[in-house]
């Protein structure tokens, strides 16, 4: 008390340095909103008694940990295998229809995991496409089962390997040739070069890709609940829904958060240690012309991946949508779902991009422990499963501002919390280009804050914001668990309809909705690919 009275100068100075920090305040606001679900989890699990904790600990945790971790490892290995091999061929060999191949490796991102799970379940039935093929090829045997860890792995790898592909392709096309040449001169075989030169240099990209895939595995709700594989996320959901036990759900969430955070910190640690700095003069890699044999081999491999990850599901969707079309099942109601989906996705994407701006800007300027802390806190959406985020937001809104409950605002808010990390990451690199001197120059030329924002900051950030918008749009379009709980009354989106129709086994109705998701995501994906074209 007295000290603050005695040192007015210091206080003034403090105010001075903080005065321009409107963005600091805005960043704080955004981060506080993003942290609501985490606070909810901490608060609710704090109410668990010691006995309840030990119960959870001994009854549920060993099995859940085992299931979740082994799934994460299998999916990581599978995605790495598909993603790295595809990226390698596509950047290192120049073959016929290479652009098409790139597209085929990215398009699986348009299909949500629950759609993959649903389609493969149906296709592997006795009268399904793959079931029939299997029985034709191996008569007398039984069709492989999808309701187990391998089935879930298959679905999550197909749905997620594209992240590894994109990141590794980016790294490969930026990597430089001289190191490889040096290794070759010293007598290394191409295989040795791959294992001992390329792979270590790719480690950061692979790690980042796998991190993305594993975080998706940890928080996946759609596939594991359709295939009944007990991971943390599914168990949390069952705990809260069938027993109305929100505290135990929060307790399990807390363990999951710890798990995800440990994983993120580890990943960051390894990535930082493995940075490779090339010299500015070194030669960029150029793709070698592929021989005929290579072209065939490459297309066999990529074709196999594309068939299972995109073409087959797409064909299935089209075939059943055609049935629906012929039965006149695609009516105004259906177009209503389409409209709802696109409206809420556009809304959420806009909101999330705007919200990410102050957090990213603040960190770019400050680089302090506080701004770093903000950045970590904004990651809540990545580490908490969708149902828990929805539960946290719902409880908070009802307790503090019930007036806005029931509208689309709450839904958009939850989407913002879920996808804020995505948006921040996409904007971070653009923000780094925005050095303080540029802003200072603008200010010294008499620009006020608004002009500065409109004519200096926004133009520089435009690219990053566009990417962020597209990414959030796609993910909101596919989002299921939070939408299920928070959508306004009677407000059905495409994922909600897919969920309902799939549980009622109305294939004719689930298929067109899934197809609309794919078609609707394609244009935005195209924008994304355009803006991130390497070289």
């Amino acid at each position: 008390m007295t000290s603050s009275l005695n040192t007015p100068a210091v206080t003034l100075e403090k105010i001075k340095t903080r005065a321009p920090s409107m963005r600091g305040f805005l960043a704080l606001l955004v981060v506080l909103i993003a942290a609501i679900p985490l606070l909810f989890v901490l608060f609710s699990s704090g109410k668990l008694s010691l006995e309840q904790w030990t119960n959870l600990w001994s009854n549920r945790l060993p099995e859940l940990l085992g299931n979740t971790l082994s799934l994460a490892v299998l999916v990581a290995i599978g995605s790495m295998f598909l993603g790295v091999s595809a990226a390698w061929w596509i950047t290192r060999r120049d073959f016929a229809y290479r652009r098409l191949a790139i597209w085929l490796m990215v398009l699986p991102l348009t299909i949500p995991t629950y759609v993959f799970a649903h389609i493969y379940t149906i296709m592997l039935e006795q009268d399904g496409w793959l079931g029939q093929l299997w029985l034709f090829l191996f008569p007398g045997t039984s069709i492989p089962e999808i309701f187990n860890i391998f089935g879930v792995t298959l679905v999550l790898v197909l749905a997620g390997f594209s992240y590894v592909f994109l990141l590794v392709r980016d790294a490969l096309s930026r990597s430089q040739q001289d190191v490889e040449e040096a290794a070759r001169i010293h007598g290394a075989t191409p295989w040795q070069v791959f294992w001992r030169v390329n792979l270590p240099m790719l480690r950061p990209a692979i790690a980042a890709g796998i991190a993305l895939v594993v975080l998706h595995v940890l928080s996946d709700f759609g596939a594991v609940s359709m295939l009944r594989y007990q991971t943390f996320t599914l168990s949390i959901y069952l705990q809260m829904s069938s027993r109305f036990d929100y505290q135990a759900a929060a307790g399990l969430s807390l363990v999951l958060v710890t798990l995800s955070l440990t994983f993120m910190v580890l990943e960051r640690f390894f990535r930082n240690r493995q940075r490779y700095y090339g010299s500015g003069q070194s030669k960029k890699i150029t793709a070698q012309k592929a021989t005929l044999f290579e072209t065939i081999a490459i297309w066999l491999w990529l074709g196999l991946i594309a068939t299972f990850a995109f073409l087959l599901p797409l064909a299935w969707m089209i075939s059943w949508s055609w049935q629906a079309w012929q039965q006149d099942l695609i009516d105004t109601e259906f177009w209503g779902y389409v409209g709802n989906s696109f409206t809420v996705s556009a809304l959420a994407a806009t909101l999330t991009v705007i919200a990410a701006l102050p957090v990213a800007l603040y960190h770019a300027r400050e680089r302090s422990a506080v701004s770093q802390g903000f950045l970590y806190l904004s990651n809540v959406g990545f580490v908490l499963p969708g149902p828990v985020i929805a539960l946290g937001i719902l409880s908070f809104v009802i307790a503090t501002m019930p007036a806005i409950y029931g509208g689309m605002t709450v839904l958009a808010l939850a989407m913002m919390v879920r996808f804020l990390p995505l948006s921040i990451q996409a904007q971070e690199s653009a923000i780094q280009q925005l050095t303080p001197s540029i802003e200072q120059a603008a200010r010294s030329l008499g620009a006020n804050w608004y002009e500065n924002l409109r004519r200096v900051i926004l133009p520089i950030l435009k690219g990053g914001m566009a990417t962020a918008w597209v990414l959030v749009f796609i993910d909101t379009l596919k989002e299921l668990p939070a939408t299920l709980l928070l959508r306004p009354t009677g407000f059905d989106t495409l994922p909600v309809r897919i969920w309902i129709e799939a549980s009622e086994e109305m294939l004719e109705l689930a298929a067109p909705a899934a197809l609309m998701l794919v078609l609707g995501t394609m244009p935005v994906l195209w924008i994304l690919m355009k803006s991130s074209k390497p070289n």
């Binding site: 009944r228 809260m240 109305f244 719902l394 306004p488």
Partner: protein, 332 residues
């Protein structure tokens, strides 16, 4: 950014209009295709518009609980008496007047009319008629017999009908025997459970499995599409000292926070009327809850067989105990 804001305003306007257009909001855990014809007929008769909010019964009940006084729902429809009784326990419903409730037998509604049963389903066995090795199975408890290894089809233990069935057996036979029974079935399913009842029936019809535990109407649904399928229904536990068939009801409740209880009660009056009952139950080959309304002709007549004497509210009261039992055995 401006466009973002205007989009937001426009969207919230659209939504608020959307909600106002309906005068009754129904949270429905029943399949859309079964509830839509009923709702359409109700609107035609009364002029009252209805907004359906579909989902799974359990998650809709969660939503209702979390929303509290902010809920827009007027009615809650569930496929499972367990959920309805749970909602009553959590004080989410408002009792229906006696005059409306009276058309449904006492044993198919809540003790204080908090919820009203609308249609009943029976837990039965489906057998493949070609497989003579399963002829000995006449009780659900026979499903634990080691002779059925690899021949049994059941759903995963998250299924509401499955949980309700286990509750009935637990109430009738005690925890110990039920727990042993579950363990026996676990050994027989070879690690595979089905995510849908319809798939069990299909697996039995195609010979992948020989016997399954399902709700009765799934058998008729399959037979409608494949009249020649080699399957038959077996009503289990009909012997003199046996427990009888487990029943469960789908039902409806008026939410406590409904601002439109009068119209909500009119809806219940409609679905419990003879016409409404016939519409509600027949689309799914279920038993109408109201006495004197006939079930679909293919279904074994209610009253012609023995039903386990477990009151419907017990399905909610004992649900957590059942879940504990199932989890302790480790049923998938």
């Amino acid at each position: 950014m401006k466009s973002g804001v205007s989009l937001l305003v426009l969207a919230s306007l659209l939504i608020s209009q959307y909600v106002q257009a309906a005068s009754l909001v129904v949270y429905s855990g029943r399949k859309d295709k079964f509830i839509k014809p009923v709702v359409a007929e109700f609107t035609k008769e009364t002029g009252i518009k209805v907004l359906l909010h579909s989902g799974s019964s359990t998650s809709l009940l969660n939503k209702l609980k979390l929303e509290g006084s902010n809920s827009k729902a007027d009615l809650f429809i569930s496929n499972d008496a367990g959920n309805l009784e749970k909602g009553k326990e959590m004080n989410l419903f408002s009792p229906v007047s006696d005059s409306v409730a009276a058309s449904i037998p006492q044993k198919l509604r809540a003790s204080d009319n908090s919820w009203i049963g609308l249609s009943a389903r029976a837990r039965v066995l489906v057998k493949n008629t070609n497989d003579k090795s399963v002829e000995f199975v006449n009780s659900v408890f026979d499903l634990a017999d080691p002779r059925l290894k690899g021949k049994l089809g059941i759903t995963h233990s998250g299924n509401e009908s499955y949980i309700a069935g286990v509750t009935v057996y637990m109430e009738s036979m005690g925890k110990e025997k039920t727990s042993k029974w579950l363990a026996g079935m676990k050994a027989n399913i070879d690690g595979k459970v089905f995510n849908k009842h319809s798939k069990i029936v299909k697996a039995v019809a195609t010979g992948k499995r020989s016997v399954g535990l399902v709700n009765h109407y799934y058998i008729y649904r399959h037979l409608k599409k494949n009249p020649k399928a080699p399957i038959k229904i077996v009503l289990p536990d009909q012997g003199k000292n046996d427990i009888g068939v487990a029943w469960n009801v789908a039902g409806v409740a008026i939410t406590k926070e409904s601002k439109n209880k009068k119209d909500a009660e009119r809806f219940i009056a409609f679905v419990t009327s003879e016409k409404g009952q016939s519409l509600f139950a027949k689309v799914n080959s279920e038993y109408p809850a109201r006495e004197g309304v006939a079930a679909a002709p293919e279904v074994p007549k209610a009253g012609s067989y023995k039903v386990a004497p477990v009151a419907m509210p017990v399905l909610g009261q004992k649900r957590n105990a059942t879940l504990d039992l199932i989890e302790a055995v480790g049923m998938p």
